[in-house]
Structure formats: structure tokens, C-alpha cells
């Protein structure tokens, strides 16, 4: 498993596809995102998981370059572990190589499809696929295979073609059912252990909608 990135890289190279250190388009996008010094916004969060009933939550997010993103809310909120990396900082944290798979259509828009393969085991994802809009220089979609937390499928929707940050993000993820101890009292709280074992991972999503963007750029 640890050798997976190297094997994948070898296979891609052997297949004649252009593997490169870092795709120039991705680098251009990163440079553009790095021009954001700070931003803040109001975010509306809606969880869509079959076994979770949660009211829509609101929070304030704030980012300042060099500092971690902060999310503040008076309520209990569930923040997705992926999807809020607005500056691709997590992707660029450890060395990687990219593989351009050429042009594909995504919802009627021509995109560049790029595979990102970490070249070190330190990275917490094993491979990522990015759909980049080369004209608007925007990230439209990403699919991240993490080493521990399954696959994240993230789509970004922008208010306008030139926007640097998205208006909406949908973070799709895999989640397994809940294991409840028998002594936890609740009506009809029963555990079918065999069913739980057999139950496949479920798909869930969280929808993030941003308002009142205040962005400061270089």
C-alpha cells in the first residue's frame, strides 16, 4: 500500500501519459489562490446523511494567510474535514507529482483533469483527482482518496466566472452506520449486529453556502 503512489506513477509513465512534477495549470491556480491574504464569510451548512436529522446551521468562517481557517458558531456544528481547503494548502503540504489526463467535460464545461499523486507517505491522501476550469482558473471538482477516512467527492460552484472563491461547496463522503450500545436507552434502540456487519458504507454529503464574502487580495 505504501508503494502505491510509486507504482501508479510508474504505470502512468509506462502508459505514455505525461507525468510531471506539478502541472502548470495547477500551479497557476495555486498562485491565484495564494493571492488571497484574508477572507471572511457567513456559511450556511446543511447535512445530508440518511441517519442524521440536523437543522440547518450557520457559522462565520475567517481565514488569514499563514493561520488555520477558523469557524465560529453559537450552535453545535459539524465541519467537514475536507472541502474547506480554499488555498489548496493541504494538497501542497507534502511533495507530489501530477498527471494530466487531458480535457474532459464537466456539466457542460470543458475542464482539465489532473491526477495528484503524493510522493511521500506523510501525505494523508493517497491520490486526488482535480477538475480545473482553465479559462476561469477555478477548481470545479475534486475527488480525494484519503488514507484513513475514505473518499471525498467535492464540487464547487462559483457566483461568477472570475470569482476566486466559491459560493457553494458540496462535500460528499462515505460514512458507516452507527453502533449503539445496548444499554443506551431510547425507544426501539436495538442493535442488529449481523446487519451492521453486512451493511455497506453509506454516502453522505454536506452543503456549504457562503454569503457576505469579504476577500482581501495582494
Amino acid at each position: 500500500m505504501k508503494r502505491l503512489p510509486a507504482i501508479l506513477a510508474f504505470l502512468f509513465m509506462a502508459s505514455g501519459l505525461p507525468a510531471q512534477e506539478v502541472d502548470p495549470l495547477l500551479d497557476r491556480l495555486k498562485t491565484r489562490l495564494d493571492s488571497v491574504e484574508r477572507f471572511e464569510a457567513r456559511v450556511r451548512m446543511e447535512v445530508d446523511v440518511s441517519f442524521v436529522n440536523m437543522p440547518v446551521k450557520y457559522a462565520d468562517i475567517r481565514y488569514e494567510r499563514g493561520k488555520p481557517l477558523t469557524i465560529a458558531s453559537e450552535d453545535f456544528t459539524m465541519i467537514p474535514k475536507r472541502g474547506l481547503d480554499f488555498t489548496l494548502g493541504e494538497l501542497y503540504e507534502y511533495p507530489f507529482m501530477t498527471l494530466s489526463l487531458g480535457r474532459v467535460m464537466l456539466e457542460g464545461k470543458a475542464c482539465e483533469l489532473i491526477k495528484v499523486i503524493p510522493t511521500t507517505d506523510q501525505s494523508d491522501y493517497s491520490i486526488a483527482t482535480l477538475w480545473l476550469d482553465p479559462l476561469g482558473l477555478q477548481l470545479l471538482k475534486s475527488e480525494i482518496h484519503t488514507r484513513k477516512n475514505g473518499v471525498y467527492d467535492i464540487t464547487y460552484t462559483y457566483g461568477a466566472a472570475g470569482d476566486v472563491l466559491p459560493r457553494q461547496i458540496r462535500v460528499g463522503f462515505e460514512v458507516s452506520g452507527i453502533r449503539i450500545p445496548l444499554r443506551f436507552l431510547g425507544k426501539d434502540t436495538q442493535v442488529d449486529r449481523e446487519k451492521l456487519k453486512a451493511e455497506p458504507e453509506q454516502k453522505g454529503a454536506i452543503y456549504l453556502q457562503f454569503d457576505q464574502w469579504k476577500i482581501t487580495r495582494k
Binding site: F51, P55, A59, N149, V175, I178
Partner: protein
């Protein structure tokens, strides 16, 4: 009738066992609160274990609302037990002391006397529930703070603080119907058995069987809406994301039917039977 009820309440207020009961209820509540707090963290860990892989959580779900919910889960077995012991004593003590005979030497009808005892038992139960609800809410919010309530019923349901308070209050009110039923039943058992220890044992067995049968599920509407044990948990329905008010109303109406029927049976036996 009002005079008789007031007289019964006065007698209750003068009995030492009433204060033992109040003390026991409060001590039990304290233990349940503490255990709810310690149990709560563990429950949250389990409930949120899988979501933790995809999410980071902000805010503390281990708050007063969760403690009240866990306390509610424990209340409906322990509190009826204490109530049944105390309420049955309203009559068994009088049988033992022969004050029933003395009372009936006065211009008081047998029917009037037993009905006043049932009404006094309901007032006493109501007062205990108000005390319990007040102290549980007060202590929980004072020590554990406010926040969202998470409940596992047909999935994980999260309720924001104002909604959580509303549902917990309704749960107390709905659950009180069950308490009223057990109080009335214990008085009827006292009418039947007269002797305190026998009444307590039968009341405890009745409660235990009801609690066990509550967990037994059958795919039958009749069973769900008319089988007594299945009527005692309607407070839990208040924690579904969409509250099934119709189900709660039907179950409580049938439960009150049982309550009135049990009281009528007790009154009938009391009126027809020789006091000795």
C-alpha cells in the same frame, strides 16, 4: 368532595413517609443526574464515532439538555416504584391503623372517601413531578449548561436549545400520564390487598413486567395502541424529528382509559367490600 380531597392532602402532608418519599426522589434524582453526566460522554463517543471520521465537531453536546434526556430515560422506572410505594401507603397505613373505619363512622360515603383518595394521589403525583421537573431542569442547566440535544431515535436527531427545551417539557408532561397511571394502580392494589408489604411486592412486580413487555415488539396496531405496557413510553415519540402528535394523543387517551378503569375497579371493590 373538595373537603375530602383537602383532608386527604392534609393527611399526606402530616405523614412522615411523604417526606421520606420526597427525600428519596431527590436523592435518586441526584444519583441519576451524576450517572447521566458520566454516561453521557461515553454515549456521545459511540454515537458520533463514525461521523468523527468525516467531520470535526464544534460545540459541546454534553450539556444540560442531554443530561435531562438521560434522566428522563431513568425516571420512568425508578420514580413509579417510589410513587407506588408511597401512594399505596395512603390506604394501607389507614387499614393498619384502622383509621378507615373511624373515618367511615363520620358522615362520609365510601365512594366519596375512595374517590378523594384517588384525587389526592393524583395531586400528590403531580406535585412530585413538578418538583422533579423543576429540580432536573434547574440543576442540569446550572451545572452542565445549554446547547443542542442529540438523540438516537430512528437515526441521530439534533435539536437546537429552544426546541430541546420545548420537547423535554412536553416529555415531562406526557410522561406524567404514565406516573398518574401507576399511582392510581398502586392505590387500587392497596384496596385489593390491604396489607402494605403484599401491595408493594405486587406493585413492583407489575412495574417490572410492564417495563419488560415494553421492549417486546409485535407487528400489530392493536398491540401498539391498546396493550398497556406499550402505552407507557409515548414521551419518547416527542424526540422524533417530526412529532407524531396523533400517536401520542391516542396512546395517552387509551392510557387514561386504563387509569380511570383501574380507579373505577378499586372504587367498586372498596365500596362493596366490608372494611374489616
Amino acid at each position: 368532595m373538595m373537603q375530602l380531597v383537602l383532608m386527604e392532602l392534609f393527611k399526606i402532608s402530616r405523614q412522615r413517609q411523604t417526606y421520606y418519599a420526597v427525600g428519596a426522589v431527590l436523592v435518586l434524582e441526584g444519583f441519576i443526574l451524576m450517572s447521566a453526566f458520566y454516561q453521557g460522554r461515553e454515549i456521545l463517543e459511540v454515537l458520533l464515532e463514525n461521523l468523527r471520521e468525516s467531520f470535526e465537531f464544534q460545540g459541546d453536546l454534553m450539556n444540560g439538555n442531554l443530561v435531562i434526556y438521560l434522566v428522563l430515560n431513568s425516571f420512568w422506572f425508578h420514580m413509579p416504584l417510589i410513587l407506588m410505594i408511597v401512594v399505596s401507603g395512603f390506604l394501607t397505613v389507614e387499614y393498619k391503623d384502622r383509621t378507615v373505619e373511624a373515618t367511615l363512622l363520620q358522615p362520609v360515603s365510601r365512594g366519596g372517601l375512595i374517590v378523594s383518595k384517588y384525587l389526592a394521589a393524583l395531586v400528590f403525583t403531580g406535585a412530585i413531578l413538578v418538583l422533579l421537573a423543576g429540580s432536573t431542569f434547574g440543576v442540569s442547566y446550572a451545572f452542565f449548561g445549554r446547547g443542542d440535544l442529540v438523540v438516537f431515535l430512528d437515526g441521530l436527531s439534533f435539536f437546537e436549545h429552544p426546541e430541546a427545551i420545548r420537547r423535554l417539557l412536553y416529555a415531562f408532561i406526557t410522561g406524567s400520564n404514565t406516573m398518574m397511571f401507576y399511582a392510581v394502580t398502586s392505590l387500587t392494589l392497596a384496596v385489593i390487598f390491604k396489607e402494605a408489604t403484599v401491595t408493594w411486592i405486587v406493585a413492583a412486580i407489575f412495574l417490572i413486567i410492564n417495563t419488560l413487555l415494553l421492549r417486546l415488539d409485535m407487528d400489530s396496531v392493536f398491540y401498539d395502541y391498546f396493550f398497556l405496557p406499550k402505552l407507557t413510553d409515548s414521551w419518547q415519540y416527542l424526540f422524533y424529528s417530526e412529532i407524531p402528535w396523533g400517536v401520542i394523543l391516542k396512546k395517552n387517551l387509551v392510557l387514561w382509559g386504563y387509569t380511570l378503569g383501574t380507579a373505577a375497579l378499586g372504587a367498586m371493590i372498596f365500596v362493596k367490600r366490608d372494611v374489616k
